[in-house]
Subunit: 475 residues, 2 copies
């Protein structure tokens, strides 16, 4: 009965929720742009103020500074919060981030990225609407709805909001570890809303993420860039060597050529294979998402398994080579090839690093070049996997069923959210990834959007999730 | 006797020649920077004014405008000039360019690039000192020296100076062809000073240049950049395809892998081979020039033959891929690989284009990718070769011997000056490449320099060259 009342209230307040998100979007909290750092801090203040109005106890943790392009810049604070402290209630820790990806209208946006507009399809357009300001405003709306409906909030809430997610989550790992048995001590579980539906039709629960190991391979020889007319073909050219090395990493059909990499990949069991049988995903969904018929596999199952539970290797680019339009006849002196490997259970960063280093050095040696090669792992974040049958997921599924009338698809993501594993490991509690937006929202892309429908239903989902959590016997 | 008088006068006026070059360098006539186009025009005016002071008839030819980065920009004029019109004298057409490469102190210059300084080694540092303002000021000094010495200038001079050499020589080909039988009609030969000694010790005459064909290979598939976590390995990635194609073009030892490319290369004759025997060039010269021991060949002869008379293929870079520092996990939607082939007698652009296109398409087909590939030849300029035994070269050699006391090395260049061939073909006259600067001058590089000694001796060389030309019986 009380949930129904809250749903009605949420429906009636839709416009005010859009206005709050409008305000959040209008603060360009771009963490990758040092000149906008004050705006990231302004966004932290906005969140603190909104939660405090509802009676939450908030604090901003100063986590020092970092160096960007040679300049020391203060890090935005990590916002911690507590709402309710009743020993009789369960306690959930929620995580969101309040920074966003860069955006300029000239990138190809149809509207000003930092001014939320609602289009004729009832979609809110603006940087951060779905990643991750929509879900964050959704939690504020959830608290507000209970309060305005006169219904006691059914759980205690702990909060952790960061402003550096789009730029490497600097400082967050340390804070989580330090606060695991202090600020976060009473958490019974963790809920992260920073993922999306697989497609556009069906809600999901996400129980797995791939990890990522990012590599630089650098080949250098001459002391400065050379003129290809004068020296071309008479010296060992770093680009020629690097291209040969990069070509030795992966086949055009996606097969990873680095020996040993797949040795640690967990075999696919029949039970696991079955999980892929009824997922609402079609080859047409892939085609729509990528804008072309460029699929490597012919079935949704093969496609999703290679997205979620097999490793892949992508070549991203080359630093130091000519990269503009036109026709520069340069022999670059030092070039760095960039590639990453998406990792899955039970791969380990150590083994991956070893395999990559050995392979690159072996291939380079076979070139008989007089240049020098070096391999560097820029960063590695581990894969994460939970059980979709854990009680926390059962609760999540119930909440989805209540709001949407369907069982959610149990999915994994091909991308990586390293902080998920940190929460799980440091707190030793289950983490649920509860999505608000759809698979076509275009986080990180131009014309990022969040359907008003998903925003409103997402708020209802959060309201239902805490209600289900309070009624749960399991721990 | 009169030459000796001129030499003495040149020595005595050294400081004023440096000052004139200082003034020329201070005008940042960077043709590649649209915002500096007025400075290129200012440089044209400066040249016109200097030659007019000496009594030359000068004119500025308006050759219209061109489009740079989407903006229409007026082209700098081509400066034509005439000095003397005596039917009893021979007539030489000289060509130089008055524009320069871009330069910023922050690129790593030790001094302001547009302020000439003379260092403790008696080298003039500044953008354009050797390429090509030094030689151009050298011709002004040559005329001035004859005049001040009271010696009649021994030949008629025709002049053609362009302001777009560093940006594709737009409009010059057309003008040369149009004026071949008009303004340039009386030319008996052409002298271009826009090359350098091979090394640092010995003057040269340059009798050959390689051509260049520049290619873009584009692979595209998705309609926009994709996230490698979400789509990596499940779609055909343009970068993976492109890297495979680029790796199929050239071996790390410089061997070109495109079938058919070398079919048209003229066989090395014994006589030609002998020309390489006594050239003053060592493996240490190469090492010094490139800043490392990265030579492909072990002998100076093999090195020079691959620089001058064999084709080479260099990979320059990739447009559209990630090219910065850091770790962006992007699958670029459209990537363009850039490479060029340096061409030699008797290769033809048509055959090269055909071979490259066929090879790229065949390799791409073998990848079984669903992406699309396209090949484009951005530009092709032909190789050029003259006979080092032509009377014009004999005159040049005599002039060198008189000034430097040594026979010049007969060399070719690995680089390309397409306009050389245009002059030769349109006018049907011999072209002599007469160098002023040394091989380590660093044209196009930071800290571009011209030794004061080369500047002064270069002026004497020009003075001697016109004297020898006037005494020549041959035509």
């Amino acid at each position: 009965m009380s949930l129904q009342k809250i749903y009605e209230l949420i429906d009636s307040k839709k416009q005010s929720y859009i206005e709050r998100l409008h305000k959040a979007v209008s603060i360009p909290s771009v963490s990758a742009d040092a000149s906008l750092r004050p705006k990231v801090v302004e966004m932290a203040d906005f969140i603190v103020s909104e939660f405090e109005k509802l009676g939450a106890k908030m604090e901003k943790r100063d986590i020092g500074s970092h160096v960007m392009n040679g300049v020391e810049v203060p890090l935005p604070p990590i916002v911690l919060g507590q709402y309710g402290n009743d020993p009789a209630k369960k306690t959930v820790l929620i995580y969101n981030h309040y920074d966003v990806q860069p955006a300029k209208k000239s990138d190809g946006w149809d509207s000003e990225p930092f001014e939320l507009v609602v289009d004729e399809k009832d979609r809110m357009l603006g940087r951060g609407v779905t990643d991750d300001k929509g879900p964050l405003m959704g939690w504020i709306a959830n608290l507000e709805a209970y309060k305005e409906a006169g219904v006691d909030f059914p759980v205690n809430l702990l909060m952790c909001f960061e402003g550096m997610e789009e730029y490497g989550s600097e400082g967050l790992d340390d804070l989580i570890v330090a606060e695991a048995n202090r600020y976060f001590k009473k958490a019974d579980c963790v809920c992260i809303s920073d993922t999306y539906w697989l497609g556009t039709r069906k809600p999901v629960l996400t129980y797995g993420l791939r990890g990522v190991s990012y590599f630089n391979v650098t080949v250098e020889g001459p002391s400065a860039d050379l003129h290809s007319g004068v020296f071309g073909g008479t010296v060992h050219e770093p680009m020629t060597d690097l291209i040969a090395v990069m070509a030795s990493l992966v086949k055009p059909d996606g097969t990873i050529l680095v020996p040993g990499i797949v040795d640690e990949v967990a075999p696919l069991t029949k039970d696991e294979d079955k999980l892929y049988d009824n997922i609402d995903y079609s080859m047409d969904d892939l085609k729509q998402a990528v804008g072309g018929e460029i699929n490597v596999y012919d079935s949704p199952k093969d496609t999703l398994q290679h997205r979620w539970r097999y490793p892949t290797l992508s070549l991203h680019g080359i630093q130091g080579a000519f990269s503009e339009s036109g026709a520069k006849t340069v022999i670059p002196a030092k070039v760095t090839g960039k590639f990453s490997i998406r990792t899955v259970p039970n791969m380990t960063a150590e083994h991956i690093n070893k395999c990559v280093k050995e392979h690159v050095e072996k291939v380079f040696a076979s070139l008989n070049s007089k240049n020098r090669v070096s391999v560097e792992c820029l960063h590695s974040g581990s894969w994460w996997i939970s059980s979709p049958f854990h009680w926390h997921y059962t609760i999540g599924a119930k909440a989805v069923k209540t709001v949407y009338g369907v069982e959610p698809d149990l999915v994994r993501e091909g991308g990586s959210i390293p902080i998920t594993l940190t929460f799980e490991t440091a707190l030793n509690k289950n983490v649920l990834l509860l999505s608000m937006g759809r698979g076509d929202d275009g986080a990180h892309s131009i014309n990022e959007k969040l359907d008003v429908e998903n925003y409103v239903n997402g708020i209802k989902l959060f309201a239902t999730y805490v209600d289900e959590l309070s009624k749960s016997e399991l721990k």
